[in-house]
């Protein structure tokens, strides 16, 4: 899949030739710096890319009940039935993901009504159950609360309640814990685990937080500059990070598996994706750069269990 943004400054190559698979019932974590294309990739799955962004090429093969559909080729009408019902999103900032003018009960009921038809009001009792499901205390009175009357953690739970209201098969959580504090993070993560067991969904989990990845994910994709640079099962990645960027990332956070001394930042900043560096996009920041190779040719992403796009391993 390739997504470009056509801006006045030039074409931003936000996501280029990204390809991955998501299996039933697994948690796939996508990590990477700000601007590495994580969010764009997941939004492109249901064509939620706004102009000036454009999905240039690619396909999203979605298997359900034995049939295969390419979501990017579906008409808007069909896609809308899938959004929210089969593939649901939880966004980063819970305080702006809710419409300030309606009660959360109304908004949850609206999400249900949008896919099952009928009046919004008849689903209000279901909204109470959903709020109870996401462990909101006293859901009977909270359904009548407006977003500004709730704390950040409760808002995020309400957003999650909206997302799971139609029992989606895939839940895409875009940094769901970034805007809430650490104790709430732990609770929300726990909640995700529970819901996954209950509903048997697959989860795509976007985060900066390596700790959460180790805690929660089954497989990890590391993105850099709009490309996948490494993909591996979670234990494998933490024990044996192969791409220099992944190694840098793990040195920059407290590694939950191998204790270490000082934290080291990855030197430099993310490249400008209007004119990405030729060859391997990480080479200007890479400590192991091979002269005459990395800046000329693009490394392929392997094909085995632990994929890595780096010339050091070929």
């Amino acid at each position: 899949m390739t997504v470009y943004f056509y801006t006045y400054a030039g074409v931003v190559k936000a996501v280029e030739n990204v390809s991955f698979e998501l299996y039933k019932g697994e948690v796939l974590a996508i990590v990477g710096e700000t601007g590495s294309g994580k969010s764009v990739t997941t939004r492109a799955i249901t064509k939620l890319i706004q102009p000036p962004g454009k999905i240039v090429s690619g396909s999203v093969i979605y298997r359900r009940d034995g049939e295969e559909v390419d979501l990017l080729k579906l008409p808007e009408e069909e896609l809308r039935k899938i959004r929210g019902a089969e593939i649901a999103y939880v966004f980063q900032d819970p305080s702006s993901a809710l419409d300030p003018l309606y009660t959360i009960g109304y908004q949850i009921a609206e999400a249900v009504a949008a896919h099952r038809g009928g009046k919004i009001k008849q689903y209000l009792s279901e909204a109470v159950n959903l709020l109870r499901n996401v462990l909101i205390p006293d859901p009977e009175s909270r359904v009548r609360a407006f977003p500004h009357q709730l704390s950040g953690g409760m808002k995020q739970r309400s957003v999650i309640a909206m997302a799971i209201s139609n029992r989606p098969r895939i839940l895409i959580a875009d940094e769901p814990t970034t805007a809430v504090d650490v104790t709430v993070q732990a609770q929300i993560l726990h909640l995700f685990k529970q819901l996954k067991e209950q509903l048997g969904m697959s989860i795509i989990f976007i985060t900066h937080n390596m700790g959460l990845v180790a805690e929660f994910a089954d497989r990890v994709i590391v993105m850099y500059g709009g490309k996948i640079v490494e993909e591996a099962p979670v234990m494998e990645l933490f024990q044996n990070p192969r791409h220099p960027y992944t190694q840098g990332l793990l040195r920059a956070v407290i590694n939950p598996i191998t204790p270490q001394g000082r934290l080291e930042p990855v030197p430099g900043t993310i490249p400008n994706l209007i004119n990405p560096p030729p060859g391997c996009r990480f080479h200007p920041r890479c400590p192991y750069v091979i002269k005459g190779k990395c800046e000329k040719e693009e490394p392929p992403l392997g094909n085995d269990n632990h994929k890595v796009a780096c010339w050091l391993y070929t």
Binding site: T46, L48, P51, L79, R80, K81, I82, R83, G84, A85, A88, Y89, F91, Q92, D93, S96, A97, L98, D99, P100, L101, E110, A111, A114, H115, R144, V159, M162, A163
Partner: protein
């Protein structure tokens, strides 16, 4: 202050009971909302200018609605024909409180009929022009790109052209065709006569008035399209809109149920100001002779009639002028107060006093 709050309570009580009659469990479910309304009214009561504006506007609206039934004489009672002494009587003489015009008609009654004409023109202009502007602004802001460019460039053309001049041109060219239309559609003609509070024989003379509000509708929407588009551009970038898309809602639903309510309160304030502006513009067009044709009068045409006999027949200019002034003042004061009440930051400050 206490009395005003009591009035507000009483008004809310009437409103709530009326709704409760139709929908049984409405009251229990919307308690919080009713409290909110009560607070809004109390906050409005704390602004003296707002109260003055509210009274002026209420006075204008009730005279406009009930006027033709209250007026002591009809607009087409030419008393001069039977009593020649009633030609241009100054206020107070011959039992005419505000004097008479050149046909011996009672100026007070003419003012009351004029209020109806003003009210109808402003209500129709706003009721048709504003939704049109809001709709186009929503579409332009939400879809962006080519839709936006097309709609906004057309809006720019309208905005660049002076509204009064365009309205003048339209008001001067439309009446002939509208007159033909009124003749061919008697049902529409009598409806219009009822709305403007004139007898149906005079319906044919309504053509210029109809062309005035048609012209005003045509020049009125662009401002709203622009204002709404600007606010929609801000709202549509918010995450709740993206979340709504991710939940699979249709564009129409997102626009009308989620974006529109979030941009409405500035529009409400703009509308109150615009009642004043429409009134002034309509009176202006009438004054220029493009509005009400005899025997139908409105405030503008009264001033026009008095203008050539000023200052001898000063009452023909003075009283309609005062009426126009008070109405415009009332809407402006009310709009000012509403802006404060709807602005959450200012409102917080007012609420402390409640």
């Amino acid at each position: 202050m206490k009395i005003l709050d009591k009035v507000a309570d009483g008004f809310l009580w009437v409103l709530v009971t009326a709704i409760a009659l139709v929908r049984k469990d409405w009251y229990a479910k919307n308690k919080a909302r009713i409290e909110e309304w009560r607070l809004t009214l109390y906050a409005l009561n704390r602004s003296p200018t707002g109260v003055v504006g509210l009274f002026l506007v209420l006075g204008f609206v009730s005279v406009g609605v009930a006027g033709p039934f209250l007026a002591p004489y009809s607009y087409n009672q030419f008393l001069y024909l039977e009593r020649p002494e009633l030609y241009l009587v100054p206020p107070g003489a011959h039992g005419m409180p505000l004097g008479t015009d050149i046909y011996g008609r009672d100026v007070l009654s003419l003012l009351i009929y004029g209020a109806r004409v003003s009210l109808v023109i402003s209500v129709i202009t706003i009721a048709l022009g504003v939704p049109l502007g809001i709709l186009l602004g929503l579409l332009a802001g939400y879809y962006g790109g080519k839709v936006d460019e097309t709609i906004m460039r057309i809006t720019d053309i309208f905005l660049a052209f002076p509204a009064l001049v365009l309205a003048l041109a339209l008001a001067a060219t439309l009446p002939q065709r509208i007159r033909e239309f009124l003749i061919s559609e008697p049902a529409f003609a009598s409806l219009m006569a009822a709305v403007f509070g004139v007898s149906s024989e005079d319906a044919i003379h309504l053509a210029p008035l109809i062309s005035i509000f048609t012209a005003l509708i045509i020049v009125w929407w662009p401002m709203y399209a622009r204002v709404v588009r600007g606010m929609v551009l801000v709202e549509r970038e918010k995450t709740y809109v993206e979340a709504a898309k991710a939940l699979g809602y249709s564009s129409w639903r997102i626009m009308t149920r989620h974006i529109l309510p979030n941009v409405m309160s500035p529009v409400v304030v703009l509308v109150t100001f615009d009642f004043a502006t429409v009134n002034l513009l309509a009176a202006g067009l009438s004054f220029l002779g493009l509005g009400a044709q005899p025997p139908i009068v409105d405030w503008g045409s009264l001033i026009n009639m008095g203008g050539s006999r000023f200052p001898t027949a000063w009452w023909l200019v003075f009283f309609p002028g005062v009426a126009i002034f008070l109405t415009a003042l009332g809407w402006n004061l009310l709009g000012d107060a509403l802006r404060d009440v709807f602005d959450p930051r200012v409102r917080r400050r007012i609420e402390f006093k409640v």
